[in-house]
Subunit: 409 residues, 2 copies
């Protein structure tokens, strides 16, 4: 990692994406970076007078994209869920496992028992591997604690590992992930505890950037979540929701009314919900890793979302139960293969639209004054980012202005 007040990338092939879902390629470009932000970029060379203070890196024509953003992960947890995996291969459904003591509950137990140090060690290793796929920002959710002490532990770990391998972490409180065992049979009571005890305290501690809920038959109904979202709004915290993964919950309109950042999963999103999202600023986040891992056969309605002008992002949804996927590049490949996104849409879904899904206006595009988060690739065409399966052609990243070489093997 090299630090200098200014960095000049020369001989870059800059790749952005357009709202229409195509690549916008600028060859033979320079990118001037000062104080961690992009000061200038394009085909014109930097002014000679500035050269002395610049660290200069010649990219030899390599492709430069915005640093990739993984906008939906459950990266911090104890244990694994390899037993659930074997159970599913023997024919059990996710719903059956979830309602029979496996599923999220087992991860909640393991996460409560794990020390902060152990959680941090594993999560850090995951961040390092995610960085190897060109990631510079990762969202991490709580939600495997379901009590104040563990939710706080998870979120403190998330804050503490921010910056690992140059990856910035954004935190999301997911108290409404599942019913805490202490509140068995009392969803209302648990949601009050989450909304009136956990959320304000964790917000006061500065540990929450966003609030998320698992709005699904196996978890919480939209109408049960009103108070929880109201609490977030009172605290000034933006909202997102897991939605319509296992069935149609008809809750998209409600999320629009809360000016949600995003609704995520969406396999069973109805036409009415698409109409509700159309024209709103809510981003549709699709999660092909979970779709793949669960053997789903109903993909999210990508063509309809596209036609409705809804911005589509995608993410790994890394979690031990339904998406033990760590590579954002593989998520992009799956979004193309399984959901029919184009390679340019997949890149936009992990840059511009992923930034929007996190409410971050300062990154996701190579543009003047944005944060200098970049990924530099050993490829000849940007579609290759979605084409390869199970390998990363990353050459280097720039993270907040710092140049970080990839470990090329």
């Amino acid at each position: 990692m090299a630090k200098k007040s200014a960095l000049l990338l020369r001989n870059a092939t800059i790749v952005n994406t357009t709202p229409g879902g195509t690549f916008e390629i600028t060859p033979k470009a320079t990118i001037d970076i000062r104080d961690g932000r992009i000061a200038a970029f394009g085909n014109k060379s930097a002014t000679a007078s500035d050269r002395a203070e610049f660290e200069v890196v010649d990219l030899g024509g390599r492709v430069v994209t915005p640093g990739l953003i993984d906008c939906h992960t459950h990266l911090i947890y104890g244990g694994s869920r390899v037993e659930d995996f074997e159970a599913r291969l023997k024919g059990k459904t996710y719903r059956e496992i979830a309602t029979s003591g496996g599923g999220i509950s087992s991860t909640v137990q393991a996460t409560r028992q794990a020390s902060a140090a152990a959680l941090a060690k594993h999560a850090r290793a995951r961040l390092v591997r995610m960085a190897a796929a060109g990631v510079t920002t990762v969202e991490i959710k709580s939600g495997y604690g379901l009590d104040l002490a563990t939710e706080e532990k998870m979120l403190r770990v998330a804050r503490s590992i921010s910056g690992t391998s140059g990856v910035e972490v954004r935190t999301t409180f997911l108290g409404a992930h599942a019913l805490a065992p202490e509140f068995s049979g009392d969803k209302k009571g648990y949601l009050k505890y989450a909304s009136w005890v956990m959320m304000p305290e964790l917000a006061r501690l500065g540990l929450i950037d966003m609030v998320d809920a698992f709005c699904e038959g196996v978890a919480f109904d939209a109408k049960e979540l009103g108070g929880y979202f109201d609490a977030a709004t009172r605290l000034g915290l933006p909202i997102k929701a897991h939605l319509d993964q296992l069935g149609d919950n008809s809750a998209a309109a409600m999320l629009v009314s809360y000016n949600a950042l995003s609704v995520d999963h969406l396999e069973h999103l109805s036409d009415a919900s698409i109409r509700a999202l159309s024209g709103s600023q809510v981003v549709a986040v699709v999660l092909p890793g979970a779709y793949y891992f669960l053997g789903d056969t109903t993909p999210p309605p990508i063509a309809k979302l596209r036609a409705a002008g809804v911005r589509i992002a995608l993410a790994t949804d890394h979690n031990p139960g339904t998406s033990p996927l760590e590579s954002i590049l593989l998520a992009m490949n799956m979004a193309c293969i399984l959901f029919g996104l184009s390679p340019a849409e997949a890149l936009r879904g992990t840059t511009t639209h992923a930034a929007a899904a996190l409410g971050l206006g300062d990154r996701g595009e190579i543009a003047i004054a944005t944060r200098a988060d970049l990924a530099i690739w050993e490829i000849s065409h940007p579609a290759e980012l979605s084409y390869h399966i199970g390998m990363s052609p990353l050459w280097a990243r720039v993270c907040g202005g710092d140049f970080i070489h990839a470990h090329i093997s």
Copy 2:
């Protein structure tokens, strides 16, 4: 890489698989390795008198499996096929692309034009990445030359890169991959050239370990391939075939009659063909990467193959057109998720059965006198090898007795 006449691995959790498709786990074991072979293994400690000449490595309880074997790859080629990928995402089928100048033909052109040095450079990089997933043996096919000079160039490159990162390469002549442009309209003439000119000459040069053919509607019919397989048999070369990927070719019985090592792909394998394979020594090699990448919806008949007692192997099928997949671990994951193999069957499919698909009796199991090819993993249960998506928990490999640490990031 450390070399010594003898290596003693202590505190290993040895994992083999059984013919019935379960894990066979031996905890707290030692593995004694001499002259590149396994001299002894099990719960008993090594005899004290031998200790001095041994390099000793304490594995701290880590899981040790046979080194993984990727028994079906097209690893050496020029160019990429990212344009085909984009065409397919716009709705073109593999068959349409293959019959309209794209597909294999474009790779043949690029491979003919590429220098041996360029081919070797890219293939070496792929081998290094494959090694990072625990691979110790890789099969590589020719078949992107379709003329003597290029087929020889490919096979010489394959031989020359054997040993990269400790990975041993086995070579397969795939002259009958597609019709050479010089023989347009004359399949019979091309197969004679492949059988009577290329195959004997490349065999004489010692470049061929096995012979393969693409037996499929878009390539060659079973009845057209008789002379080609006869030529291989005369040269004493074992046979395998790409079969029933795009449709039922009813050729399995013919391959059984040639004592083929394997038949590969098998999405459209008929019940009659399964009966023909049952009781034979022919291995069924399934290739979930191509199934996934092509968006196929008819998986190979795994349950029927299992019931018929046919040994099932699996591989990456790495190739630029239909399976740009480099990770054997991801192939195992896909075989479980998409085809319904159990994690133990997936491991057996990349060890014992993959060795059989290559006619190699000296590897694929941790057993006395087998080649000391091992993979050592940072996992707590062997099912984790198939559970993770897009990451490798490899800690080290032993390749022909040499201990090679993985690059842990």
